[in-house]
Symmetry: C2
């Protein structure tokens, strides 16, 4: 039997493990799941005869080496920062490796060693990064194959709540790491390209510079810019492109409300508040407002941000109970971002029967025979329950499919890589389609950002 | 003769050198001015028989040691980051030292060596820091001497344009390092204490959270908070104080207009703009606004920041000619802050006959015999011309006076220190008064921030 070692059995591994178990008979697989806590792994395996859960402490180099030595391929579903020792062991023992994480500089540095050993280290093969790379490159390659020249590429992803479970004023719940949501966009100005011009948005303006998108059957969304839209410009071969813009999708209205937190400084993660433990939510809000005990925290808030009494953003705040003088922060020496995260978790945690939704939207603008064209491509994936979420499906399935394709020698080009070549994306996208993860493409008139050609 | 070595002969040394030259006969002084460029030093010395200008490269350790060895005391007017090697030589050769700079961690680390050698290293003895320390501690000590308990301390300084030269819409010109003005307030949230409560203001809100001050005979000013109002809390012995707030003074209206630059991201110093060299001022502004060639940069700007057509801030922008498509940035790979600085220098550079103004405002709140009191203390110093500026006077005179006091053994307590003890501030403030640098104190009703005691 071919032995697959899956390291980590967190939220995003349900579909990954399910897929491998289902293929274990026909593909002759044995799956070992190693984790520091094997309870979730055992639930996912459910006594399947072709799988086993083992206690594995990734920081114990002996047991890590032992587990890696005994398998044919390694899937690391650990947090991105923990891959590197696994990767070095994989090189040492000559094992291929798959992760859904961004390639770190340390991982990139292993490229020559990986090539020398003839190994495939496939990274960024979850949803974003992952499905975005594959689905974009498939269309870009098609456009190029017919002689088209790319002039615009925009790409947006959102991990959201499914319409049937969308029952709060923010149209948002945490379907993924809450911390990433709270600090999203921080660390420098967002930079992107529009019609050949670089544009910059400082963090504190990011949520006021949104654009709208429409997804058939799912209505309207808004997007805010990622920090670095140009990250994959040369990797995708788009050095001469005029417009390059990547972003994050939310339901319309989220960003305008979120901007209140940004403006007051509540998303700041760079300092801690001394007595945060004993603060009420109201105290927390008040620490960003002028001292004036003759005025209510509510009126100071409204005045500071010029919020009218009938503005919907006010109801969104009240829904969070953020002015409560009874609820306590309870976190010691917490940053504003950590405190805000705690307040939001109270309201935005998925209920038992809630389902999530993953939405992706690409725009491809190109010139062909002197004319401008545009293809819009959209994908929506809905979760089934709280174990089999859309996030777990879209992250885990590409990882599982890529692992099998490497085992079966369908993907053979060695090196530390991401899924942008046809050899990689074609078999994986074909198989994803069998699971309902497929893109709807449509030709639309090309507008770009200068429709009048001024 | 007692030999004083002054290292550096920049803008802030005119009064310093003039004072020492005038005292050179009665005090038996010889002043050596060392600089990498001695033109300005020669002008300031003007062939005085008790002074000499020498070429001194501070990075050449031999000539630095030679110069320091041959003097009795060293004044370093170098940029703060350049003091450290001078300080080490002073310890080695057993010389006292005076600087107007903040004590760096490296300087602080020398304290025990300085004490062991019985030397006085007096720092932060310019205007801010310097005169602020001395004038504040004098009043605080007086309040304590009569049994009062400090409950509020607020302190504000502004380097501004004198009323007679105040002829632009911003009521501001560069009277000091322009870079410090452009990046003022950056690097983290401002933190201060009001009535026992910590308050936080993120950078992008700093210029909308101003307060007003009135200075008799000079009208109204506004202040924005310094990043760390609590820096001297324990040094001043104010650990139990309820309100502690330090800030920067501007003429009313400056901050509301400056906020436009902050909001658009034009003060960002954390990244460079690729083709900045060939940008027009208009291109620069446009890079922070949405791409939309059918709209003017002006209307996009007004819309982004919701500026009405009759708002005075708009005239302030026009005065800077910031929408010019002819004026070029010319700086290679510049940060937004560097480009903005260049645009502002066009408009805010002092004209030949312009005079500057230094304003300081302290508020001292205290309890005595169960009642609350307040003393407001203000100081205004006006420049005489572009050499003998208020900035040079208020920075240089305390340095010069302290140097003489150390030479004359009036200040003897050894160590790396700042001027907060009576031994230090009393002789210096007395002498400063002879030069018109004196504080007007007045008793005012104590209001604090909770006048109704809610």
């Amino acid at each position: 039997m071919r032995k697959i070692l899956v390291i980590g059995s967190g939220k995003s591994t349900s579909y990954l493990i399910k897929y491998l178990l289902e293929k274990s008979e026909s593909e002759n697989l044995f799956i070992t799941i190693g984790d520091i806590n094997i309870n979730h792994a055992k639930l996912l395996i459910n006594n399947h005869k072709n799988a086993n859960a083992i206690l594995l402490d990734i920081f114990d180099s002996n047991s890590r080496a032992e587990a890696i030595k005994n398998c044919d391929i390694v899937i690391s579903m650990l947090p991105a920062s923990m891959h590197i020792n696994v990767a070095k062991d994989c090189i040492h023992f000559g094992k291929n490796m798959v992760t859904a994480s961004y390639i770190s500089p340390e991982m990139e540095a292993l490229n020559q060693d990986v090539i020398n050993k003839g190994l495939v280290f496939m990274n960024e093969i979850g949803v974003d990064p992952g499905i975005d790379h594959m689905s974009a490159m498939q269309v870009i390659d098609k456009i190029r194959a017919k002689g088209g020249k790319m002039i615009l590429f925009e790409s947006f992803t959102g991990g959201l709540i499914a319409p049937e479970s969308d029952n709060n004023l923010w149209n948002y719940k945490f379907t993924w790491n809450p911390r990433n949501v709270v600090v999203a966009g921080q660390g420098g100005a967002a930079k992107f390209l529009q019609e050949g011009t670089y544009k910059y948005i400082p963090y504190h303006r990011l949520f006021r510079r949104t654009e709208f998108l429409e997804v058939d059957g799912f209505g309207r969304f808004e997007v805010y810019a990622n920090r670095d839209s140009l990250k994959y410009q040369s990797v995708y071969g788009l050095n001469d492109i005029k417009t390059l813009y990547r972003g994050t999708m939310r339901r319309v209205g989220f960003s305008r409300a979120w901007n209140m937190f940004v403006m007051l400084g509540m998303t700041d993660d760079s300092y801690t508040i001394d007595d945060s433990e004993n603060m009420s939510y109201r105290d927390f809000v008040n620490s960003f407002l002028p001292y004036s005990p003759s005025d209510s925290v509510e009126l100071k808030f409204r005045h500071a941000l010029k919020i009218d009494q009938d503005d919907i953003v006010w109801d969104k705040l009240l829904e969070l109970d953020i002015f409560s003088s009874k609820k306590r922060v309870e976190l010691k020496k917490a940053t504003p971002a950590q405190i805000l995260q705690k307040i939001l978790i109270d309201s935005w945690t998925l209920a038992k029967n809630d389902k999530d939704m993953l939405v992706m939207y690409h725009k491809f603008g190109y010139e062909l025979h002197g004319k401008k064209h545009q293809i819009d491509s959209t994908m929506v994936s809905l979760g089934e329950d709280q174990t089999f979420t859309a996030m777990a499906k879209t992250v885990g399935l590409p990882v599982a499919i890529a692992t099998l394709a490497i085992l079966n020698k369908k993907i053979t080009t060695p090196g530390v890589q991401i899924p942008i070549s046809k050899e990689v994306y074609e078999p994986i996208l074909n198989e994803l389609a069998n699971f309902g993860i497929l893109f709807k493409e449509k030709e639309v008139p090309y507008h770009g950002y200068n429709p009048l050609n001024i």
